[in-house]
């Protein structure tokens, strides 16, 4: 029987990156996937929602345009929107399949089962591999008290092929995923209410980011109820009643036409029996060391399965590290270099410490900021909501955290990541010649402001 150098279970952004990188280094690779190549990211997450956001964003922008006329007659063809999304996904999945073929990666369809170190079973067949990477990903959490029906009460997975636009939508969970769906439906004219159990939405983000987003979402008509606990979800005919308790302990009721549950994600362990295998766990997640090694010889785990930030690019970075370690390296992934992007309206992008965390760290820190109304490009685009904030160490200029709100900030955070990865100081960012007129200039301005030298800002007294 052939022994592969590497077997990867799960073909999401963690698993398929691992497979490709390993193949690039000459390893023979087996990739097992029970569903479609691309995992949650490509089929039920990042990519489909971006397709929706592009379409709904267009509608929203046109509808609110001060110069277009006849926009009151604009309508979005929901069927076409879903069809376009499906086409995008199909294109990407097909492309991925060709890439796998081109690298000579053996892709096996089916539910894989980890039999032990070096052995996996897919269907009736046993496969052997020197190394195994577990990249099974996650699925939406389904709280037991919620009677999901997939139509009126949905997980985010079930919300990706809407046949109609609800007039009232209740979203349970004000995290990254909840806000993204809020942005989609808000643009479609739905009255969206977000119910969040924690004291604030996007609770791990910078305070200023949260305040700004709350304000802007509210202005767009999204109602946000924080510190609110949902007690009951009752279907009543074609509507759903959400019984919830506010901060003061007062019971309230909200009637909506559809409920979307976005209360986080849980790791997928199908085909893995930790107890039988003796696989050490870290709560619901598979336990790994900083080199992504599990306690089983030659078995690595990456991505959502091991917890931390549940982000596609975090999984891909871990895939890269795990493969490098299989090849004899000692690579780790620095969480301070993992960007966080949120596609609400407007977008949020951040990396590193929040301002509060930076100040609490005991270092001498200073924040530089630049507000979008002062940006020529933002004004020209008519998108002036937001800011760029850079927090850096006063003594050596180390960039500790960057927080941005505004259109296209998710495309801009990479510039900061580059600087941070190369250990550039905040003054290095300030010294970059940025093209004009662009939104990238705002990063430079914030970096300049850190030294009190922003150009398009009033002189500081």
């Amino acid at each position: 029987m052939k022994t592969y150098d590497l077997a990867v279970i799960g073909a999401g952004p963690g698993g398929y990156h691992a497979a490709i990188i390993a193949a690039q280094h000459g390893l023979s690779v087996l990739l097992a996937e029970r569903d479609a190549l691309g995992g949650t990211c490509l089929n039920r997450g990042c990519i489909p929602t971006k397709s929706f956001l592009a379409d709904t964003g267009l509608l929203e922008k046109a509808t609110h345009s001060p110069v277009l006329t006849g926009t009151d007659k604009l309508k979005l063809d929901l069927k076409a929107m879903v069809a376009r999304k499906n086409k995008v996904v199909t294109t990407m999945v097909t492309g991925l399949s060709k890439i796998m073929d081109s690298h000579g990666i053996t892709v096996v369809s089916g539910q894989a089962r980890l039999e032990g170190p070096g052995r996996i079973r897919i269907g009736p067949r046993l496969y052997k591999a020197e190394n195994i990477i577990l990249a099974l990903g996650s699925r939406p959490a389904v709280p037991g008290f919620i009677p999901f029906d997939g139509k009126l009460i949905q997980t985010t997975d079930q919300a990706l092929d809407p046949a109609s636009v609800p007039s009232r939508l209740g979203i349970i969970g004000g995290g990254v995923i909840g806000l993204e769906f809020a942005a989609v439906f808000m643009a479609l004219g739905t009255k969206v209410t977000i119910l969040e159990m924690l004291p604030d939405i996007l609770y791990s983000e910078d305070q200023e980011v949260r305040r700004t987003i709350r304000l802007l979402m509210a202005r767009s008509g999204v109602e946000i109820r924080t510190a609110t606990k949902v007690l009951e979800v009752n279907r009543a005919g074609e509507t759903v009643e959400l019984i919830h308790q506010n901060q003061a302990g007062k019971s309230m009721s909200l009637t909506v036409d559809r409920v979307l549950v976005a209360t986080g994600r849980v790791p997928v362990l199908d085909g893995i029996d930790p107890q039988r295998l003796g696989l050490e766990m870290n709560g619901p997640y598979v336990k790994v060391d900083s080199f992504l090694r599990t306690n089983l010889a030659g078995v690595y785990a990456i991505g959502d399965l091991v917890g931390g930030m549940m982000l596609a690019h975090k999984a891909s970075a871990e895939a890269e590290a795990a493969v490098e370690n299989i090849l004899g390296g000692a690579k780790t992934v620095d969480p301070d270099l993992i960007p966080r992007c949120i596609w609400c309206r407007p977008e949020v992008a951040a990396v590193g410490l929040t301002e509060d965390q930076a100040r609490e760290s005991g270092r001498r820190v200073r924040a530089g900021r630049f507000n979008l109304p002062n940006s020529g490009k933002a004004q020209a685009m008519g998108e002036i909501d937001g800011f760029v904030k850079i927090i850096a160490d006063r003594d050596n200029g180390e960039i500790l955290g960057v927080h941005m709100v505004g259109e296209h900030v998710t495309d801009m955070i990479g510039e900061v990541l580059m600087a941070k990865t190369m250990e550039a100081a905040v003054e290095d960012l300030a010294g970059v010649i940025m093209p004009h007129p662009t939104l990238s200039e705002n990063i430079k301005e914030a970096a300049l402001d850190w030294s009190g030298l922003a150009i398009h800002a009033l002189k500081q007294s």
Partner: protein, 460 residues
């Protein structure tokens, strides 16, 4: 007749050095053999003697500027003698810079070095056997020459890519970039804060970029975690040189090894007797190593062939007997040598040895102390190691390895089981020069010396 003063070869581990102090000024009279400047390289500072007598006519490299070894740093002339054009031309650009394209070699390094780029001169490739100073005129376009002068770069070390190898402005720019160690801003700032010269730090980043973790690991090796499994440790300068020399020695000089069990009881008893008296009289405690070093030195007088090196002209028997002692340091092994070990007494050996070891650990050895060794003693007596072999310290031809002191049971004359202290000593020699029988005689003779200490050390 004018004499060029060059930055001396500072030993095999060193390719560049800087003059930390000029002991003479321009115009001062100097005598041959008189110290004229102090050079600093790596962890060693050395006074350099004048190669000739006369007047220090011109200083070409000022204090604090790092230049490759063999760079002409000054010119000595006879009283009243003009500095000959050809020497000056070869050594430094005339000032103001002539507009001729045909220029001659070396732009003098300017004294004011930028604080963030402490190495203005473009060094030769760091691990070549030595810098290749081009002889003859170097051709450069005038603007390139000006630019090189401003940047304190030496045209002789810049490759010309213009027609017929003429040095262009771009070549100078490239050389300027190449000479600066590439480091991240945060790494550079950390180094500047700690007063660390980045050129000694090995970079672990992409294409050797020096990252912050490299600087912090260099500053405090104890703080950085030990090597992790699978980790790749970039080679420091010192380690690169050690690895090259070890390979040269191991594969260039065929080693043969001999082992002998030395009965230590007599020596230990002899030492026990001597230690309090010597300590009382001279204030220094004799270690077992001091006796070993002395015994080896005496043995080398009996077998001068083991105090030699192989040179193109033949087997050179070194005129002095300087026994080196291997000292382990975090950065790598260093072997300072006790000078004239055969001539001086045990007390003087102990004093030198204590001083050398202490300065080796704090990185304050001078170059002659490292280079003068003619034979090496490497001791692992403190370890639980029975015996071991060692690689010759080139260009030496013999090395003694000393294993642990251990108890051994034996039958005495009456057939009683007794115990004695022994050590297994190994001798490694360069078989190109030394035959097996000679090496065996050497080791046997050394064993006899150590086992009869009263006699061995009595004629001193």
């Amino acid at each position: 007749m004018a004499v060029e003063v060059v930055l001396p070869m500072l030993g095999v581990t060193v390719e560049k050095g800087s003059i930390s102090e000029w002991l003479k000024k321009e115009g001062d009279k100097v005598e041959k053999g008189e110290s004229i400047f102090v050079v600093e390289a790596d962890k060693v500072s050395t006074e350099v003697e004048s190669p000739g007598s006369g007047v220090l006519a011109k200083i070409l490299v000022n204090e604090g500027i790092e230049v490759p070894v063999l760079t002409v740093v000054a010119i000595i002339t006879q009283a009243g003698e003009e500095i000959p054009e050809d020497i000056l031309a070869k050594a430094a650009p005339a000032s103001p810079v002539p507009e001729a394209v045909e220029v001659d070699a070396v732009a003098s390094a300017t004294p004011k070095a930028e604080p963030l780029s402490p190495i203005p001169a473009a060094p030769a490739p760091v691990f070549s056997s030595g810098p290749t100073v081009q002889s003859g005129p170097v051709r450069a376009v005038p603007a390139a020459r000006r630019s090189a002068k401003e940047k304190g770069l030496d045209l002789a070390f810049i490759n010309g890519t213009g027609p017929d190898g003429v040095i262009t402005c771009r070549d100078v720019e490239n050389a300027a970039t190449a000479s600066r160690p590439k480091a991240s801003t945060l790494a550079a700032r950390m180094a500047a804060q700690q007063g660390l010269d980045l050129s000694v730090v090995a970079g672990s980043g992409i294409r050797g970029r020096i990252m912050r973790s490299d600087v912090s690991a260099f500053l405090d090796p104890s703080q950085s975690e030990g090597p992790a499994l699978g980790q790749v440790i970039p080679l420091s300068n010192v380690r690169q040189v050690i690895s090259r020399r070890m390979s040269e020695s191991a594969f260039g000089a065929p080693h043969i090894y001999f082992f002998a069990e030395v009965d230590l009881d007599p020596l230990l008893a002899f030492r026990k007797q001597l230690v309090p008296q010597v300590e009382d009289a001279f204030g220094i405690r004799l270690s077992l190593n001091d006796f070993l070093i002395k015994a080896v030195a005496l043995n080398l007088l009996d077998f001068p062939l083991l105090n030699s090196r192989l040179a193109p002209e033949g087997v050179v028997i070194n005129p002095q007997v300087n026994v080196g002692l291997a000292v382990a340091q975090p950065e790598g092994l260093i072997v300072p040598a006790v000078a004239e070990t055969d001539r001086i007494g045990l007390v003087a050996i102990a004093e030198q040895r204590a001083d050398l070891v202490e300065r080796a650990r704090s990185g304050r050895l001078t170059l002659p102390e490292i280079e003068r060794g003619t034979f090496t003693v490497s001791s692992l007596a403190q370890y639980d190691i029975t015996l071991f072999t060692a690689i010759l310290n080139p260009p030496q031809s013999g090395i003694l390895s000393v294993g642990q002191t251990q108890d051994k049971l034996y039958l005495d004359d009456q057939g009683q089981v007794r115990s004695k202290k022994i050590s297994v000593m190994g001798l490694g020699v360069d078989h190109r020069i030394i035959d097996g029988a000679v090496a065996a005689d050497f080791l046997q003779n050394l064993k006899r010396k150590l086992e009869a200490p009263a006699f061995s050390f009595s004629h001193l």
